[in-house]
Symmetry: D2
Subunit: 295 residues, 4 copies
């Protein structure tokens, strides 16, 4: 099989390597000519064998993905297949599918999990699209997903959009699990009788109920920096966690832990500039004469 891959950043580059290792021929395009296999998307399309051409898009979601989709609509032909493997919002998928569909080009979305470890471990995949497109692209999915039974590292979640939707929920869960380990870490650190927090985390890796891959990563992080002294408590968020909560609100799904984990990230970026806590401090001062900390 020979496919096109648009976007050769950290993720795209790793995926190209994993695909090639698995015997998939890959022609890659990136705006950065230093890493690109071809000069432009036209050349990418031209490089692919006749028949149903498959182009995997792996660029930042939003405008950049929109632009790539628009450009691909110009260089691909009826019956070809585009798969967006980036972090697009599921609602974008409908737009992209219609845009390409107007030219008879097929579209699928693929949520991809695994981060920098995916190159070696394989990527967990959740895809949305028509069954015949899923079947056609299966050699690519099989190359990207981890070893083991297909259904343990790959799911066909539903029609177009369902893959990114499932990935979005995955990330919402991920946020809450990370926050849960963080809270446990903080309490263990705060307790005088706990003498070796990294050892406790390490000892949870086998046999316990809370063992997980994120726990293994926590152990790695604590091995490098047992008190996490070198790191500030400052955490960005990507779109998926926010969308998860928005969808929960839309569907009347109670989501206390996932929302709490996102709010914790918001707060982590405010520090003492939090307007909410300024207001609370001002109120305490008003009714009780409690001193405020001057900015």
């Amino acid at each position: 099989m020979h496919i096109g891959l648009v976007g050769l950043g950290r993720m795209g580059n790793n995926m190209r390597a994993r695909l090639r290792n698995a015997g998939i021929e890959v022609t890659g395009y990136d705006a950065n000519p230093a890493v690109s296999d071809v000069a432009d998307l036209g050349a990418l399309a031209a490089a692919l064998p006749e028949g149903k051409k498959l182009v995997w898009v792996m660029v930042p979601h939003g405008k950049i993905t929109d632009d790539v989709i628009t450009d691909l609509a110009g260089v691909l032909s009826e019956g070809d297949l585009v798969i967006d493997g980036g972090n697009s919002k599921w609602l974008d998928d409908t737009v992209h599918a219609e845009q390409l569909g107007a030219k008879g080009i097929r579209y699928m979305d693929a949520g991809v999990s695994g981060g920098v470890w995916g190159k070696d471990n394989g990527y967990g995949l959740m895809v949305g699209g028509a069954p015949e497109d899923v079947e056609f692209a299966m050699p690519v999915f099989d190359a990207l997903r981890p070893e083991g039974p297909r259904e343990e590292g790959f799911s066909h979640a539903g029609p177009v959009g369902a893959g990114h939707y499932a990935k979005m929920v995955h990330n919402g869960i991920e946020y809450a699990i990370m926050q849960a380990y963080g809270e446990g870490y903080e309490l263990l650190e705060a307790k005088d009788i706990i003498k070796d927090v990294p050892a406790v985390f390490a000892g949870w890796q086998r046999g316990t109920v809370v063992r997980s891959w994120l726990l293994d990563l926590m152990v790695l992080a604590l091995n490098e920096d047992p008190k996490l002294d070198a790191i500030e408590g400052y955490v960005e968020d990507s779109g998926e966690g926010r969308w998860t909560v928005e969808e929960a609100i839309e569907h009347a799904v109670p989501m206390p832990t996932i929302s709490a984990s996102i709010f914790a990230r918001f707060v982590s970026r405010q520090g003492s500039a939090s307007p909410t806590m300024k207001a609370v401090a001002a109120l305490r001062n008003q009714f009780g004469g409690h001193a405020v900390k001057k900015a």
Copy 2:
């Protein structure tokens, strides 16, 4: 009526003034001789008229209150009445009642709300104790509580401990209400189409569902400092909010908003030193290669 008052700090001093204005004679004692009416608790007890002597204790909870109760047990007599109006935990009330009760001295607890405004507005009172003691002390409660029907500014919540317990719950609710206004304030501040946040808060004071005394105070605070620029988002907590959540846990009462408001205060004091968020940042770095902010 002539009572003793132990503790002449900000609260005690204001209460002495309000009691005297209402025609209650007050002999005050404080460890600070500059503000004290008498030299020691023995002199305080001696200054009170024969019969059932009433001493109101208004000192910081914990060891200082414990010591005052112990000392009063030495200078008062059978049938006298001690009222703890400080912020003691309701569990301390049982201890203090037993300690005094061993000498036949009566005990009541009074939760007092109103802060620095109480001197002029009156204090909301929640008391715990035996009905005959409540009746005996009613002239004092009537002098301290706000104008208007007694049952709107005073409650006899139950036996010893119930007054402080009701006040504890009051403070838990207070935390959540403050946090709610803070969250609304922050969102209004974040929104470009809202041109005058202080005007919006001011306009909520009459006719709306959210009108309250805390809202009035928020308006005062925004009058002084419309962007709260001079205040850091740093908020202490007193014991009552924590005890409220502990009690909720003990009695299997779900308490999401009150607990959230307390956790927000904890976080406000950590800033970028939050161990939880350090751990979350470390995890993101481990799986995704996301940059961390170096401490």
Copy 3:
């Protein structure tokens, strides 16, 4: 002054009465001919005096408001003014303003708080629109708002949309305050030493930090039904609370208490059918052999 009023349901009918009491002439239209003053919107427009005609819209948000706006665009003229006093989303205001603006018709939005009590107490008003329109409609606002200084029951929050936005935030805060009182109520009910929960709430009405109009209503409710025995713990939500959280997410505003109060309402409608808790029960059963409750 003589204005048109579209929508004579519970809110519109009360507002018509309050406006007329204040000397404002009102021609009302409602789809229900039994309560309507005129046969249709054309007749409503015709009934208003020449010059800048003012029509206040008070119908359910969404499609019904959309339709009324469309119809008013057909019967009003350049320079007339439409005010949407319903619970529309602030984003709808922009659409409606553009739609009417295409014909030179002016538009404002007004968030209205006060519920069934507004007829007698007056309504808290938050408005969005151009200063000249606000000035023109001020007699109407003055008639609707409560007695007292205008700025305590009325605010001009910003341009079109700002009124509904401020009302949306108001409702978000309202949700959290209600939840906070509820949590406090539940804990007091759960505690054996609290002998009279309604008395505690009643006694918080004067002098305390938590006194508010919602507290007064809680006292009324407990007067009618001291244990709330006749009411199920089932609570609907209107759109505003959800939009508040969505906006918080959009603007990275941490909103733990307001979101918790909405999630609590979602849960209240699920009972034992909660999919989240089914999943948790299933997990406990899987790892610990803990019994599940069979559906």
Copy 4:
């Protein structure tokens, strides 16, 4: 090695089997003579070889553990070692250590994770005690813990109490992770474009960031009952989750996700009888005339 084991319920019985498989001789005692190896604790002590006798206690925490400790103090001798492997609160460990220590008997606590799977997979162990006692008991720990490097399934967390404390925090984290999967499950179930929720969960088992043992169990549960139709959303909690939040409050550790997961369990047991939501419903009715659901 030959040890005593007190308590042969589900956990104790499995542990006896695992220990014997590993070549540890075990004399078990249980109040139920049908499963007991000896008639009483005296016989148990007598059955153990001379020298430092080791007795592992595996009975419900609280009064039953207290009684067993008291009885062991009567039948063991100076230098013997008792290990409490049950779910005792860490504060009980101090009491038990002092009680046994008065007779020169040594004491350790062991938090044990793994549930019904531990017999085959091994148990994750977190222990508290003196280094020489840990070393003495290591053959037992090695027999109980999972295959693999010792430090990945065993930790010596600190002095007496630290083992149960680490296990308590483990369980708090466990609660939040379970809740996070539950929330994600509910949202996926609520979304029309997700056609196969069990497949999505199954596909997360390899390569994804959220892969974990609890996820594997979720897949097992969904295999058995894809819609969880047979299960009610009703979840008990054991003490550890509550203690975790109490400790968080005590140490000013923000714990939004772990507390939310416990509150969700509390709510799951209330259904429409929730006093909080009754109060919220009553308030809505008071201010807005919103209908309540009659009990």
